[in-house]
């Protein structure tokens, strides 16, 4: 049986040029991006010309002048895509978006501390590290050492964009110091030949087409990792 995922996080990150000051719940309400109920329960952490941070129901929005990040821990994650397409496709199509990321992070527990160590040894064997690796292999108890972070990158090149899919595996101390594990997958896209004035639509077209297939890839990677703990 596969370990249960205890925490999920999905996010879309846009890189470009933004005006954080407009991203207030009342602006989203007036433009019918969110419901009245969501606007009434929204939490405004800060809305300023340099930075905005608001919580809109299950969505958390963080905006800086060059970065727009929308994340949620609650499925269906398609809500992220709908929100971004509505904001930038309908309302702010002239915003500059040159790069974007589609991300997923999951947190789960290995059945035991030993199983987590085994998982680490599988993804980062100690033998190639020589004497350093031998000492780690022999460590135990409070001195137990091993993999702290491993990343794998798949390079992606298409006609209108290039990018990569990068997966990271590391311990998740916030879940459990001995057994917690975190897997993060970043799908990164950079538009080819983007010119100032191109606006947001080119990026949105790619985002719209790639969101669900990339989420499936995230799932595929996560299942591969989980499969080692079955």
């Amino acid at each position: 049986m596969l370990p249960e995922i205890e925490r999920n996080n999905w996010s879309i990150v846009l890189i470009g040029s933004f005006n954080p000051a407009i991203f207030h719940p009342s602006w989203f309400l007036v433009n019918e991006v969110i419901s009245k109920e969501t606007a009434e329960s929204a939490e405004v952490h800060v809305v300023h010309s340099e930075v905005a941070s608001v919580t809109l129901g299950p969505l958390r929005l963080d905006v800086q002048r060059n970065r727009f990040s929308l994340q949620t821990e609650q499925s269906p994650e398609i809500s992220l895509l709908d929100f971004v397409l509505r904001v930038f496709g309908d309302l702010l199509p002239h915003s500059q978006i040159t790069q974007f990321g589609i991300n997923r992070t999951v947190y789960f527990r290995a059945p035991s501390s030993d199983r987590r160590t085994q998982l680490g040894r599988t993804f980062a064997p100690t033998a190639p590290w020589g004497a350093f690796g031998e000492r780690i292999e022999g460590s135990q108890g409070v001195t137990l050492g091993g993999m702290t972070n491993v990343s794998m990158r798949e390079v992606l090149i298409e006609a209108s964009w290039s990018g990569h899919c990068e997966a990271r595996l590391m311990p998740a101390y916030e879940i459990d110091a001995d057994t917690g594990i975190q897997t993060h997958v970043n799908n990164h896209f950079e538009l080819k030949g983007y010119k100032e004035g191109d606006g947001a639509m080119a990026a949105l077209e790619v985002l719209k087409n790639e969101f669900e297939p990339r989420m499936d890839r995230c799932e595929e990677i996560i299942l591969a990792v989980l499969g080692h703990l079955e």
Partner: protein, 200 residues
């Protein structure tokens, strides 16, 4: 109660309507109790809305409630049949068909988790629609229905969540344009009459 209880029962076929109306019953053995808000499969709704025999997944819905199907169970669109992590989440996209006094019926398309490769019809209580989404509840409205288990602060709990999609107008325009193009294409097809006397 474990997540392994999250299973569909098999196909439930009416003996008097065999080979005509195969009614798939989504029987969440422990999960989809009335608290999950779903009187799964009203026979009345199914009888009027379900296709005689589901053949494949629709990959496009039209505003009149009809759908376009791929020619085989392996559709033209990428099929999201990858089981979710640890198999504990099911997600469908729903198209609202009809709204009654206290419930609404919807055609469901599997997004993830379920093994079915065709659409199904289910009935939901209106009370399960979040108040903020009530204005989006109308025939043709699109929503996601997610059912699963989640762990919050160490406590595992079941959930059933209906979220109506606030689709951007520009993609709706694209969809309408594609729909119009497709209809124009279909209406322009010259069908060859079937000649019953042909021996060829």
């Amino acid at each position: 109660m474990t997540a392994s209880a999250l299973k569909f029962s098999g196909l439930d076929v009416d003996t008097d309507e065999q080979n005509q109306t195969a009614v798939r019953r989504l029987a969440f053995q422990e999960l989809a109790e009335p608290s999950a808000g779903t009187r799964v499969f009203s026979r009345a709704a199914v009888a009027t809305a379900v296709t005689p025999r589901p053949v494949s997944t629709p990959f496009a819905f039209f505003s009149d409630g009809s759908s376009l199907r791929a020619p085989s169970p392996i559709g033209l669109r990428a099929w999201r049949a990858i089981p979710t992590s640890a198999g504990k989440t099911f997600e469908w996209e729903g198209l609202v068909l009809e709204i009654q006094d206290a419930s609404f019926s919807a055609r469901l398309r599997n997004i993830k988790g379920a093994k079915t490769d065709y659409d199904e019809v289910a009935e939901f209580d209106l009370a399960d629609v979040p108040p903020g989404d009530r204005d989006l509840l109308q025939p043709g409205g699109i929503f996601r229905w997610v059912v699963g288990l989640e762990s919050r602060s160490g406590t595992r709990q079941r959930y059933s969540r209906i979220v109506f999609r606030r689709l951007p107008a520009w993609t709706s325009r694209s969809l309408k344009k594609s729909e119009d193009e497709l209809k124009a294409l279909v209406s322009g097809i010259q069908w060859i009459k079937n000649d019953a006397t042909s021996t060829g």
